[in-house]
């Protein structure tokens, strides 16, 4: 066999793995997909049914009596926590990238950049630990009451019960911290490689340095920013451990305000597998597989789009994590 052919086959492991993930999750969850139907996404009822009763046959599949699977609350929790994460991470990431690229120079820039990138290397369970031990008490005792007392008077979602600290906003804050290095590093690289001529032209016309960055350089890299935001979106959607440890793991419950407990699709798979295994008909584990499949497809689409954008728009490729 030619060496080239051998390498081509070895390289096939990558698409092979991706295909296998989608294929096996689909096969495994197929009974659940048929049983749950489209309402899966719009119902707010994750209920394993009566586990002490005999299984009944409904629509050709065997389930525990009373079993219902709907994950609206997970979709809402996932989308809202990701939205908060991006609302916090994008401005901070852009600001940090600008300052790193334009105001910090030489060796100092290398070191600070490295520190920001190290933030991305910290394992998610350590973010979870920090969120659980430090951030939750801090937010619950100091920040949330303050927010509810000021912003809460004007905007209803910031008002009401501030709870124990486990919840939507905490999850969003931790997630934002996990994705912000991605945005900052990608954008900084794009700003640094912008041609000096556009800066010189702008400053030659009398713009200040900041005006040059803000009004000339930044619009030039806005597509990179969109691509990086999509990457961050993909990561936030699928983040598991940190969210699991700070979100409060709500069940069948839509958050009435920004402090309320939530759960996300990724975290729910971890928190529910043990109890789902109690279902002798296996419909619960198969419904969890359906969640994993949905999450997988969403992240493939989001990441595919992000890569296409970055590939088409940015001059230098970069291995972003």
């Amino acid at each position: 066999m030619k060496f080239r052919t051998l390498l081509a086959i070895v390289a096939g492991v990558l698409p092979g793995s991706l295909a296998a993930v989608v294929l096996f999750l689909t096969i495994y969850s197929w009974p659940a997909i048929r049983f749950n139907g489209l309402e899966f996404a719009f119902r707010n009822t994750w209920n394993l049914g009566n586990l002490y009763a005999d299984p009944v046959t409904l629509g050709g599949v065997s389930i525990q009596p009373g079993a219902h699977y709907g994950i609206l609350f997970l979709i809402v929790g996932t989308l809202l926590s990701t939205l908060i994460a991006l609302l916090l991470a994008v401005p901070v990431g852009v600001g940090a990238a600008i300052f790193l690229a334009e105001a910090v120079s030489g060796k100092f820039r290398l070191w600070i950049s490295f520190c920001v990138e190290l933030l991305a290397a910290i394992p998610s369970v350590v973010f979870g630990l920090w969120g659980y031990v430090v951030l939750i008490p801090f937010l619950a005792h100091h920040v949330f009451p303050l927010l509810a007392g000021t912003l809460g008077l004007a905007i209803p979602i910031f008002g009401g019960e501030t709870g124990s600290g486990y919840g939507l906003l905490t999850a969003g804050v931790v997630l934002s911290l996990m994705v912000v290095p991605l945005i900052a590093a990608t954008l900084r690289d794009a700003i640094v490689v912008q041609p000096a001529t556009i800066r010189e032209a702008s400053m030659g016309l009398g713009a200040t340095r900041f005006e040059t960055v803000w009004k000339v350089v930044l619009p030039n890299v806005n597509k990179v920013l969109i691509g990086a935001t999509f990457l961050a979106l993909g990561r936030a959607l699928g983040e598991t451990m940190a969210v699991l440890m700070v979100s409060g793991n709500a069940l069948n419950y839509l958050p009435p305000n920004i402090y309320a407990p939530i759960s996300t699709m990724a975290a729910f798979i971890v928190s529910q597998l043990d109890s789902a295994l109690q279902d002798p008909t296996e419909m619960a584990v198969r419904s969890l597989a359906e969640i994993a499949l949905v999450l997988c497809i969403i992240s493939v689409i989001v990441n595919g789009l992000a890569r296409l954008m970055l590939l088409a728009w940015s001059p230098g490729r970069r291995l972003a994590r």
Binding site: L7, A8, G238, L295
Partner: protein, 296 residues
């Protein structure tokens, strides 16, 4: 002529207006620098805060018995978890390195083929698949269909799949640095593809490839979610079996023992977090140095 035609009053009215505009622009610029500087400072402070919490609480939980005894109930040591993390990560690297490096060579050396383009793109997409999805895939296939039970094999294979795209892409990046003249010289001397790639190109970029492998190792050490339902957890040392035998790992200790209401258990969690974070950061710093030296 035009200067003379401007009425006297206009000039005196424009100068303060221009002055005001300049002040506004200066204010905007200063505020801009202050805000962006604040963003960077905020990030740095939060990062230091996380590291300080892990370092201080972790260091105070350190003791020699952590490294010599296994977990017992809510206390004991972390020997089983440390051993498990090493076994799982080494297993993952043994599987991922040949395939990842091979795939990286392919997409770099045969980049003009459409198969290479597809693989490069799919590697990037695979990076974005949530690790819990990988874990559940491992549960469905290896634990359920194949009946392996929670095991080293299942955990390592899933970690390997997660690490594959990183190794593949860093290998490709490293190979891109090799000047084409080197390849041409090899072929001109009559060497085949195998010899040119394995004997000439690969050795010249070994540090770059090693960097990628080290970063992948750091990722495999820090993963939790994909292992929960593939490797399981065990309080005991590994019995050497690849299947039907669960194994402990450090990140599980962080996740589980921090939720226990006992100070002893919490200390284990801090110690485990300290070990994992130190490993991961050390690997990142080291690989940065290797990479920088190689590129200078």
């Amino acid at each position: 002529m035009s200067v003379a035609s401007i009425p006297a009053g206009t000039v005196s009215a424009t100068v303060p207006k221009l002055h005001k505009m300049r002040m506004a622009r200066r204010l905007f610029s200063s505020l801009g620098w202050a805000t962006t500087g604040f963003c960077l400072a905020l990030l740095s402070i939060l990062m230091l805060w996380i590291l300080a919490v892990v370092a201080i609480r972790g260091a105070s939980a350190m003791s020699l018995s952590l490294f010599t005894t296994i977990t017992q109930g809510n206390g004991g040591g972390l020997l089983n978890a440390i051993e498990g993390t090493v076994v799982l990560s080494v297993g993952a690297m043994l599987l991922a390195v040949p395939f990842g490096v091979g795939a990286g060579i392919y997409i770099s050396e045969y980049r003009q083929t459409s198969w290479a383009t597809a693989i490069r793109f799919l590697a990037d997409v695979l990076v974005g698949v949530p690790s819990i999805v990988m874990g559940y895939f491992g549960y469905v296939t290896m634990i359920d269909y194949l009946g392996w039970g929670f095991s080293v094999a299942a955990g390592s294979i899933i970690l390997a799949i997660i690490c594959l795209p990183y190794i593949c892409r860093t290998t490709e990046l490293a190979l891109e640095q090799v000047p084409n003249a080197l390849r041409e010289a090899g072929y001109a001397l009559g060497a085949g593809e195998w010899r040119v790639i394995m004997r000439i190109i690969l050795p010249s970029v070994l540090p770059g490839i090693l960097t990628g492998i080290m970063l992948a190792l750091a990722i495999s050490i820090g993963e939790t979610a994909p292992l929960l339902y593939t490797a399981g957890w065990s309080n005991y040392l590994w019995d050497g079996r690849l299947t039907h035998s669960p194994i402990g790992y450090l990140t599980y200790a962080v996740y589980t023992f921090i939720n226990e209401p006992f100070a002893e258990a919490n200390a284990l969690a801090y110690a485990a977090a300290f070990l994992v974070t130190s490993f991961v950061l050390l690997i990142n710093v080291l690989s940065r140095f290797v990479f920088d030296r190689h590129h200078q």
